[in-house]
Symmetry: C2
Subunit: 351 residues, 2 copies
């Protein structure tokens, strides 16, 4: 029987013998089934799977426990971008498809320490284009620790993902026309610039952007035009998620960091989390997100379980969300997110 | 920095020093946040994570590639139990939360060989009790091969999961009162009885059940009352999923197999899949599921992409869905599925 199983094993050398593939055909979502059995799609799926293994390998080696978070939630799972909620009727209650497992992970830090989850995240983005998906895979981790350690965990996780793909899926990458050597040379630590420095850099390049503005993808592309992965740290508090911790030296900014990658833009969002209950409550109440919630007739009650847990277990902690498809985009060197997975979901691809 | 990360690592020996825990408190779903930071919940989450690692370890060793399947689908992702669909408005289209990634995995077998996915599966089951969850974790794999090999893959995967938990989470299991030695002694192969034999066994035990009836959980409990994991194979075609392959010697039954475990009941559903396009189409059209779909105003069009792929790539293949929470139930020795995960979702637990 062992032999039978052996024979069924995927022959990993298949891609050695193939001519170069055409990744562009994977940008199509209107008739996805036409490309499902293509060698290009098989190569992409193999690379995506290897990237996931690279993340898990890092998590295993650093004591992170996997947590299954809920995917139908009240507002605590869907407050990342409440303008793009998928709502549904949940036994007579209004519920939403999850956007982030962050708060559910944070709740378990006091008893479990380092935790992570990997699963779908949903955005009701109606565009069917190169930059938007209605569902994407999010790799999230949270741990008891501070900002410097956070950046090291992120860059090591991303590095582990990329190097694992380079090592085990070289043939697939070459088949798709990827310059494997340049991926192999990506070194740590990644570059770090503050948001304020980024604004300065953009102004020097003739871009009209002011302190307080959110950065657009065209801005991010300028920052990484030399091909180097770059953390943009310390964003203004107003434009970031409510529970990011204020910087001690400059209370106008938070201890946040977005990792920007060539081709894909923001691939990781992260921050040290606020763990002082009173400050957290105050930050929630004055956040833009909360104002929008109130306009929808909601109030703070949905957040009480989370606020209570933080009050009862005040622990310094930090975490992030890694957009798997953005990492895949960077590795494949494509500007089209639809080419990064077997079943990219947008408004024209429902299957 | 490496030291800082080291210190943040979860101290796995914590559970060695604790008195025995009370798993029953984890049955509560009405006020879940009250138990989120308990040592019992931490132990269960650690065990659940280890079970997942055991499955992945087997998949890695046997050439299975992980695939990200969609979680918002048309009917091909939600035809497992169309009486319990979660519907939602998808940019003006009627869509559903996924129940099974099976057909999306099957579509990739021609190019990728062995494939698997792990993720949420949804059922709009309104009950808040010991046996139902509205969302649960499903481990699914498909491969190019037949029925005998299927059963070997399943029992090896389940065995790998259990032994991994026994090996790495002994303290957590003991803390929860689990007899680790009896888990360690579970041996391969698992027992195999046919559906017809199971009916006979039940009749001998005074249970009134006839050939053609579906087995209830009380029937399954009787079959495994001696504690031995048991495959029940070759069910009548009428009561099983439309694409299960008819048995060559007895066309009234299909090459299906349900794995029954003590405490949890049916933990795995599996079958060799029909890969003759004409027979597959005929089986779909006469299935109970399709009749219900027609009554809802649907027709065969939603299945055409899948039927086309099978016609263009006729490959013998088989696969299964492993209910993670059912495996955890068995390992923990609990009759309550709510105790198997951090965030069990039912009609009273939305968070």
């Amino acid at each position: 029987m062992e032999n039978i199983i052996e024979e069924a094993r995927l022959d990993k050398s298949t891609f050695t013998f193939l001519e170069s593939g055409n990744m562009e055909k994977l940008n199509q979502t209107k008739n996805r089934s036409a490309v499902l059995t293509s060698a290009e799609l098989a190569a992409v799926v193999s690379i995506e799977a290897e990237l996931l293994k690279g993340a898990r390998q890092y998590f295993d080696a650093h004591g992170f426990t996997e947590v299954i978070v809920p995917h139908i939630t009240r507002i605590t799972g869907s407050c990342e971008n409440i303008d793009t909620l998928f709502g549904l009727d949940y036994f007579g209650e209004e519920a939403y498809l999850v956007q982030t497992g962050q708060l559910y992970l944070e709740a378990l830090i006091p008893s479990l320490g380092n935790v992570f989850c990997i699963g779908p995240s949903f955005r009701a983005e109606p565009a069917a284009d190169a930059r938007h998906l209605a569902e994407f895979s999010l790799v999230e981790f949270e741990f008891p620790g501070g900002f410097d350690e956070l950046l090291v965990h992120i860059e090591n996780t991303v590095h582990s993902m990329i190097q694992r793909a380079v090592h085990y899926r070289k043939h697939e990458l070459q088949f798709l026309g990827v310059d494997v050597n340049s991926l192999r040379k990506i070194s740590l630590p990644f570059r770090r610039v503050t948001y304020a420095e980024a604004i300065g850099l953009l102004n020097e390049n003739g871009v009209s952007v002011e302190w307080g503005d959110d950065l657009k993808s065209s801005h991010e592309a300028l920052i990484v035009q030399d091909g180097i992965p770059t953390f943009i740290t310390h964003y203004p508090e107003e434009i970031k998620f409510f529970n990011m911790k204020r910087n001690e030296n400059n209370p106008k900014v938070v201890n946040s960091s977005d990792l920007i990658l060539p081709n894909s833009g923001e691939a990781v969002g992260s921050a040290e989390r606020e763990w002082n209950h009173e400050i957290l409550r105050e930050k929630l109440l004055k956040s833009e997100m909360y104002k929008k919630l109130k306009a929808r007739g909601k109030d703070i009650r949905d957040f009480e379980w989370y606020l209570d847990l933080i009050r009862e277990n005040p622990v310094q902690h930090s975490g992030c969300g890694i957009g798997l498809n953005r990492i895949t985009q960077f590795v494949l060197g494509t500007k089209d997110i639809r080419a990064t997975t077997a079943y990219p979901l947008n408004s024209e691809s429902l299957l």
